[in-house]
C-alpha cells in the first residue's frame, strides 16, 4: 500500500496455460453432458413415438383400450380402393363381409393388436412374488449382518463374499438356475409323481415329489427374487446402519434384549428406508427379461392368469365348495405362466417384422413399460429425499 509498487512477484500464469485449463474443463464437461444428452435423447425418442399410443387427445386422454385389452394378432385388411383397415382377429371376418366385393387382401401381424393388459398383469404378479421373497430373505440377512454379526466371524466374510458374487452373476445364468431349480426340480405335492421327478417322498395321503413347478409365476418370481436379493440386502443393511448407534445403546441400557432392541428401536426407524430402497429392487425385477424367459414368460397368451376354466359347480354346491374353488382359483394364479412386459417387448422387437403396424404396439409397450419403471425409480428417489429430511436424528 504505502510501499513503492514493486514488480509483482506472484504474476499470473501464462495465458496459454490458462487457456489449456479452460479447454480441459470444457472437454470434461462436454464428455459428461454427452452421456446426459444421450440418455435424454433416448427417453425423448420413446416419449415422442410412444406417448401418442398410450394417450389420446380426447377424453379420457388415456388410451383405455391399449391398457385394458389383451394382446392379439393384428389384421390389416386392404380394400380395392387401397384403403387399409386395422382390425383384430375376431372382427376380421365381419369387416371382410362388410367389404364384400371391395375386399382385396389381408395381412396379419402377430402380437401387435389389442392392448398390453396381459403383460402388465404378468409383470405385476412376478414382481409381487419376487419382492415378497426377496424382502423377507434380504431384510433377515441384513439384520444379521448389521445387528448380530461381529467382525472377524468367518461366516460373515463368506456371506459378504457371496453377496458380492451373487450381484455379479449374469441374469441369464439366473435364468438357467431357475429353469433347473424351480421349473424342473422344486418339490410339489402330487398324488402320482411324474416320470421326471428327481426323487419322491411318499407322505401317505400325498407325495412330495421333486418334479418342478413348470414355467409359472412362482418359478419366475423365485428366480427374480434371487436376482434382486443382493440389491435388497445391501440397501437394507445401509438403512439399518443409518439408525444411530445411540438408539441401540439406550435400548440395551434400558434392559432390552437384542431382539427387543432390533424390534422396537432399530427396525421401525429403518423400515421406511428399506421400503424405499426396495422400490429400486422392484424396478430391477420388473426390467429383467433373461431370468423369466425360461421360467415364467410366454410370448402369447389369450387369457389372464385367473381366467381359468374350472369345472362349473353344481347349483346346490355348498358355500365351502365355492370358497374352495375361489381359493384354488387364487392359488392357481401363481401356477400359471404369464406374459410379461419385458418379454413382450422382446417378442415385438425380435420376432415380428418391423413395419408401421407393429410400431404402434412396440413403442406403446416400451413407453408404458418405461413409464412404469421410471416412476418406480423416481418415486424411490423422491421418497428417499423426503424421508431423509423427515428422519433426521
Amino acid at each position: 500500500m504505502n510501499q513503492p509498487a514493486t514488480a509483482n512477484p506472484f504474476a499470473g500464469m501464462k495465458s496459454r496455460d490458462a487457456l489449456r485449463e479452460t479447454i480441459v474443463r470444457w472437454l470434461l464437461r462436454l464428455g459428461t453432458f454427452f452421456i446426459v444428452a444421450v440418455t435424454v435423447a433416448i427417453l425423448a425418442h420413446i416419449m415422442v413415438k410412444g406417448a401418442p399410443v398410450a394417450f389420446r387427445s380426447t377424453w379420457p386422454f388415456v388410451n383405455v383400450q391399449f391398457l385394458t385389452e389383451l394382446p392379439s394378432t393384428l389384421h390389416v385388411i386392404e380394400d380395392v380402393k387401397g384403403g387399409r383397415i386395422e382390425v383384430e382377429v375376431n372382427r376380421a371376418d365381419q369387416v371382410k363381409a362388410q367389404l364384400g366385393d371391395a375386399f382385396h387382401s389381408e395381412t396379419t401381424i402377430s402380437y401387435s393388436g389389442g392392448g398390453i393388459l396381459g403383460p402388465i398383469v404378468g409383470t405385476a404378479l412376478l414382481v409381487t412374488v419376487s419382492i415378497s421373497i426377496a424382502l423377507f430373505l434380504g431384510v433377515a440377512c441384513a439384520i444379521y449382518l448389521s445387528e448380530y454379526a461381529r467382525h472377524g466371524n468367518p461366516l460373515i466374510e463368506w456371506v459378504r463374499l457371496a453377496i458380492l458374487n451373487l450381484a455379479g452373476v449374469p441374469s441369464v445364468v439366473f435364468g438357467l438356475f431357475g429353469l433347473g431349480a424351480f421349473v424342473l426340480t422344486a418339490p410339489v405335492f402330487v398324488d402320482v409323481p411324474a416320470d421326471r421327478s428327481v426323487f419322491a417322498i411318499p407322505l401317505g395321503f400325498t407325495t412330495l415329489s421333486f418334479e418342478g413347478w413348470d414355467t409359472c409365476v412362482l418359478s419366475g418370481g423365485f428366480t427374480l427374487a434371487f436376482v434382486i436379493l443382493p440389491v435388497i440386502i445391501t440397501a437394507s443393511e445401509q438403512c439399518l446402519q443409518a439408525v444411530p448407534q445411540g438408539f441401540r445403546e439406550t435400548s440395551m441400557a434400558l434392559g432390552a434384549t437384542r431382539w427387543q432392541t432390533i424390534r422396537y428401536s432399530v427396525l421401525p426407524f429403518a423400515t421406511p428406508g428399506i421400503l424405499t430402497s426396495s422400490i429400486l429392487g422392484i424396478a430391477r425385477a420388473a426390467g429383467e427379461t433373461a431370468p423369466i424367459m425360461f421360467t415364467a414368460a410366454l410370448a402369447f397368451k389369450d387369457k389372464l392368469p385367473w381366467q381359468k376354466d374350472l369345472p362349473p359347480l353344481p347349483a346346490d354346491a355348498s358355500i365351502f365348495a365355492h370358497w374352495e374353488q375361489s381359493v384354488s382359483r387364487f392359488l392357481g394364479i401363481f401356477t400359471e405362466s404369464v406374459q410379461a412386459l419385458p418379454y413382450h417387448i422382446y417378442t415385438l422387437a425380435a420376432k415380428i417384422p418391423q413395419n408401421e403396424y407393429s410400431e404402434r404396439a412396440q413403442y406403446g409397450s416400451v413407453f408404458v413399460f418405461l413409464v412404469l419403471v421410471a416412476s418406480l425409480a423416481a418415486s424411490s428417489v423422491l421418497l428417499r429425499k423426503r424421508l431423509r429430511a423427515k428422519y433426521r436424528w
Binding site: 461381529r150 467382525h151 444411530p244 448407534q245 445411540g246 438408539f247 441401540r248 445403546e249 439406550t250 435400548s251 440395551m252 441400557a253 434400558l254 434392559g255 432390552a256 434384549t257 427387543q260 432392541t261 422396537y264 428401536s265 426407524f269 428422519y391 436424528w393
Partner: protein, 262 residues
C-alpha cells in the same frame, strides 16, 4: 490409595471395581483400576478426554459389550458382591437395575410417553394403567411432568435439548434402577439446561447411586460427594470431592484441576 483409608469399615461398598483392566482389541484403556462406590453416593469421574472414565462407566452396565473387540483383560467389577462378568449374570437384568444416561440426549423418534415407558414395555409390562402411572412417576421425578403432561403423545424429538435429556433421565429411572450412570449428561446442553439437570441430580440424590462422568470440574464440585480422577487409563486419586479439589494428594491431580493438564 487415599480412597481405601477413608471408607468407613461398617458400610459394604455397592460397586467394587477390583484390579480392573480393560482393552479394545490390543489397545488397553484401563489399567488396574480399584474403586469402591457406596450406596446413595454421587461419584464424579473426572479426567482429560481419553483417560478411560467413559469406558469404566460403560462397563458397569456392560453396555460396552456392544463395542466390537472390547474385552475385560483382568480384574472384576462387583455389584452387591456379584461379579458382573461372571457367566451366571443376566445382562438384561443388570441393565434394568443399572440405568444409564448418555452424553448425547437420544430419545427415540416416538412419543414422549412411549419414550418414558420404553424400558417397562421391553420388560414385558403391558397393562396400560401401570404404564401410565410409571410414566407420570418417572416424568415427575425428572421434573418434566409439568412441562409435558399435556402433550405426552407428541414426538419426543420436538422437545428442547434440556427437556430431551431430562426425558432420557426419566426413561432411565422409570425402571427404578438402584444405580444411575451418567456419561457427561450435560456436555451437549446449554448452561441453563445444565443447571436444571444438576438441580435434578441434587433432588434425586439419596434415591439412587449416581456415577457421573464429567468434563466440567465446577459441576463435579457442585454435585458430587466423591470424585475420582483418571489419567491415561489409571485411577490417580479418589476421595471426598472437597478433599480432591482443595488438597489433592497427587501432583497430577493438582495440575489437572488447576487447568494445566490439557
Amino acid at each position: 490409595m487415599a480412597a481405601e483409608t477413608s471408607v468407613p469399615a461398617s458400610e459394604e461398598p455397592l460397586i467394587q471395581v477390583e484390579k480392573f483392566n480393560y482393552a479394545y482389541g490390543d489397545h488397553q484403556v484401563l489399567f488396574d483400576v480399584d474403586l469402591n462406590m457406596h450406596s446413595k453416593d454421587v461419584l464424579a469421574l473426572i479426567g482429560p478426554s481419553g483417560c478411560g472414565k467413559s469406558t469404566l462407566i460403560r462397563s458397569i452396565n456392560r453396555i460396552n459389550d456392544l463395542v466390537e473387540s472390547a474385552r475385560v483383560v483382568s480384574g472384576s467389577i462387583k455389584i452387591d458382591g456379584v461379579d458382573l462378568y461372571a457367566s451366571n449374570v443376566d445382562v438384561i437384568n443388570l441393565r434394568r437395575n443399572v440405568g444409564m444416561v448418555f452424553q448425547k440426549y437420544n430419545p427415540f423418534p416416538r412419543s414422549i410417553f412411549e419414550n418414558a415407558v420404553y424400558g417397562l414395555r421391553v420388560a414385558g409390562i403391558k397393562d396400560r394403567h401401570d404404564l401410565e402411572e410409571a410414566a407420570e412417576r418417572s416424568l415427575k421425578s425428572a421434573a418434566l411432568w409439568d412441562e409435558v403432561k399435556d402433550r405426552l403423545h407428541e414426538m419426543a424429538t420436538g422437545l428442547s435439548g434440556g427437556q430431551q435429556q431430562r426425558l432420557c433421565i426419566a426413561r432411565a429411572i422409570a425402571l427404578q434402577p438402584r444405580i444411575l450412570l451418567m456419561d457427561e449428561p450435560c456436555a451437549a446442553l446449554d448452561p441453563i439446561a445444565t443447571a436444571r439437570i444438576e438441580e435434578l441430580i441434587l433432588q434425586l440424590r439419596g434415591q439412587y447411586t449416581f456415577v457421573i462422568v464429567t468434563h466440567n470440574m465446577e459441576q463435579a464440585k457442585r454435585i458430587a460427594d466423591r470424585t475420582a480422577f483418571f489419567y491415561k487409563g489409571k485411577l490417580i486419586e479418589e476421595d471426598d470431592t472437597m478433599t480432591i479439589f482443595n488438597h489433592p494428594n497427587d501432583p497430577l491431580t493438582e495440575s489437572y484441576i488447576t487447568g494445566r493438564l490439557a
